[in-house]
């Protein structure tokens, strides 16, 4: 083989080699380009999900009712920990833990030893300054409710998946949750971010702030009073709702039994139910206001129309209807003030069930209000006319054979207070974005005009009598203000008959009667003890709360009223 041949072989060999290399390059750079690009990117790129901050829930004055807070949990990777004895001592002293406790739990094989949860920020800073690479800092967000059990049924709580599970947390979850962001960073060989090569920087959109119509001061007043009621009467349940009649805004709502959303692990389901919207009760005499309003509106009676109350016993439809006293001839106004069952029954008979029924529907009975959708709100029970018996026309108007939620009852009374206009009860006032800009405002919505304003005025006059010394709720009076309202004492229907031991005592009233600023319902389910009438149990609680609420709302008392000091400044 001469030189030329050898050179040729070398050239051919080299050419073949280069061709192979070229082919491989073509395969890598053109054919499998995307595959290798992805591999290269994944090798030094990292995607970090940026969770949004869940929006806060605030009251009408922007006091925080629910907010998310970040807690720091500290863990230790025990493998390859340098100088464990000394390091553990330092860590224990910063975390304010007994040194021997940490030493006992130390296991050189453990990769994720929990040291302490919910650690203060200053401790985290001190731990970071130790520069122990084995320490693992984990941030977790938890929902915090600074007012504890106050309005807990309304505010609700989060489930384990951090989504709203009940109350406003559930209702407004789409506004509160926010939108997560993402960050694509490039790392150097030490795993540190090269900030200049940041790829995608999509910041999270924090959840919106939901402002409720709740007034925290009023909420506190009613929670306080409910505690006193529970202590005094040991009832199965107790409820208070305060509503602004002109707008349908719920100013406060409280239930007993209740729960603290911060510590709801031990809470029973019955404690967490918002009974103001889920449970129905026979309203009893408070319902008379609705029935008589219908009769007045239809022109069947006026406040002065005389009604003979049969001296306390009225036989109709095979049954005898009783009054708690032997009333004779009374005007409609007195029928309301004395809460005569017979008088109300006879007024309803004059009106007729065909005319009464549409009014009951128009007042909102038998339909959900929609205040908290998909949270078990009950529509109550309002049987269609086809299912009414002969005596229904005398029983339904006095609140028997019909069931309503406390919210339905206060809405109906609000309509009377509001010149006959039924408003949609609402709890959300507005939604603001994380920058504080208003995103949505929820305006008052009128459902319908149920009764004429003149009828509503007449009803208010007669309901004022209820709270006079002639009526059943003298204890509901508030010095300096004219109160209009109606008591209710409903026997509970137990095992197919009306119980003589279990009652629901209630009072719904509003003030000032001439220009109502708030309507309040007080309902006590099964009060224990000798007192069980609405006028004895619920009315005094109404007065106690109203005295404080008028101060919160800055309402001016009338001139020259007993118990009110006047001064010229």
């Amino acid at each position: 083989m001469n030189h030329r041949q050898r050179a040729l072989y070398v050239i051919v060999f080299l050419a073949f080699g280069f061709t192979l290399v070229s082919l491989r390059l073509v395969q890598i750079m053109l054919v499998d380009h995307e595959k290798y690009q992805d591999l290269a990117i994944n090798n030094h790129l990292r995607r970090i999900e940026l969770p949004p901050h869940r929006g806060a829930i605030v009251d009408s004055a922007f006091n925080t009712l629910a907010q998310t807070r970040i807690i720091n949990d500290i863990y230790l990777d025990c493998q390859d920990l340098k100088d464990p004895e000394e390091t553990l001592k330092q860590i224990a002293s910063i975390l304010e833990l007994p040194a021997d406790q940490l030493a006992k739990s130390y296991n050189p094989e453990a990769r994720y030893l929990p040291l302490r949860k919910d650690v203060e920020e200053k401790m985290v800073v001190a731990l970071r300054e130790l520069k122990v690479r084995n320490l693992i800092f984990k941030e977790t967000s938890v929902r915090s409710y600074p007012n504890g059990a106050h309005a807990s049924h309304l505010i609700g709580f989060l489930g384990d998946d951090n989504r709203g599970a009940s109350g406003i947390e559930k209702q407004m979850n789409s506004y509160l949750r926010g939108i997560p962001g993402e960050l694509w960073i490039e790392k150097d060989r030490k795993g540190k971010e090269i900030a200049a090569y940041r790829r995608k920087d999509l910041q999270p959109v924090d959840g919106m702030q939901v402002a409720l119509t709740i007034d925290l001061s009023i909420q506190h007043i009613i929670e306080d009073q409910l505690d006193k009621l529970v202590q005094k009467y040991q009832p199965a349940g107790a409820f208070v709702i305060v509503m602004r009649p002109r707008t349908g805004e719920i100013l406060a709502m409280a239930n007993r039994p209740t729960f603290d959303p911060n510590e709801r692990r031990g809470a029973k389901p019955e404690q967490m139910r918002n009974r103001c919207i889920t449970d129905t009760f026979e309203p009893g005499s408070t319902f008379k206001a609705v029935s008589i309003a219908a009769a007045i509106n239809e022109g069947v009676v006026t406040l002065g129309t005389p009604i003979f109350c049969e001296n306390g016993e009225f036989y109709y439809g095979g049954f005898t209807l009783h009054d708690h006293e032997r009333y004779g001839m009374m005007t409609v106004r007195e029928v309301i003030a004395k809460s005569s069952n017979i008088g109300t029954g006879k007024i309803a008979l004059m009106l007729g069930q065909e005319k009464l029924f549409p009014y009951l529907q128009a007042f909102g009975f038998g339909r959900v209000t929609g205040i908290l959708s998909r949270q078990g709100e009950s529509a109550g029970i309002l049987r269609p006319l086809s299912q009414w018996s002969k005596v229904s026309i005398t029983r339904v108007p006095m609140g028997q054979g019909v069931a309503a939620t406390p919210l339905q009852m206060i809405s109906a009374m609000s309509a009377v207070a509001n010149g006959g206009a039924l408003m949609t009860p609402r709890i959300v006032k507005q939604v603001n974005d994380s920058e504080g800009r208003v995103v949505e405002i929820y305006s008052p919505r009128m459902v319908r005009q149920v009764i004429a304003p003149s009828t509503a005025r007449m009803m208010t006059q007669s309901l004022e009598d209820v709270v006079s010394d002639q009526g059943t709720a003298q204890a509901a009076s508030v010095p300096g203000f004219t109160v209009a309202g109606k008591t209710g004492t409903a026997q509970k229907f137990v095992n197919g008959e009306y119980s003589k031991e279990k009652y629901v005592a209630s009072f719904i009233g509003y003030l000032p009667a001439e220009n109502p600023q708030f309507v309040m319902l007080v309902m006590v389910d099964e009060p224990k003890g000798k007192q069980y009438y609405g006028g004895q149990v619920a009315a005094p609680a109404f007065a106690e709360m109203s005295k404080k609420i008028v101060q919160c709302l800055n309402l001016e008392p009338k001139k020259e009223t007993a118990g009110v000091t006047q001064a010229k400044l």
């Binding site: 007012n147 940041r198 000091t565 001064a567 010229k568």
Partner: protein
């Protein structure tokens, strides 16, 4: 010829060096910006935490607890004062004409 080469090499060198310099500057600024952003996030987080602490400390229950702990007397029934000045603002509800009571 040599001079030409020197000038070209010098130009390339200057170009390369200035590229490295600006690149380094850009990296440094990016680092600083990221650092500032982290600081800002920390401050925002701290702000949120403080806001929440305020909410806890000013909650009615906490105030009630403090009132009890400090031996203060809770504000009870207040005398309501009315001034006859027509449309004037409603009066300070806390005003008490009882001069025996020390001012709050």
């Amino acid at each position: 010829m040599v001079l030409k080469c020197v000038v070209i090499i010098g130009f390339c060198l200057a170009l390369g060096l200035s590229y490295i310099m600006y690149k380094n500057q850009a990296m440094k600024l990016a680092d600083e910006s990221a650092q500032q952003k982290r600081e800002l996030e920390k401050l925002l987080k701290r702000n949120e935490q403080l806001r929440l602490n305020i909410a806890w400390l000013t909650s009615p229950q906490e105030l009630q607890r403090k009132v009890a702990a400090n031996g203060l007397v809770p504000v009870g029934e207040m005398l309501v004062v009315r001034r006859d000045l027509g449309t004037g603002a409603s009066l300070a509800r806390t005003y008490s004409p009882n001069l025996e009571r020390p001012p709050r």
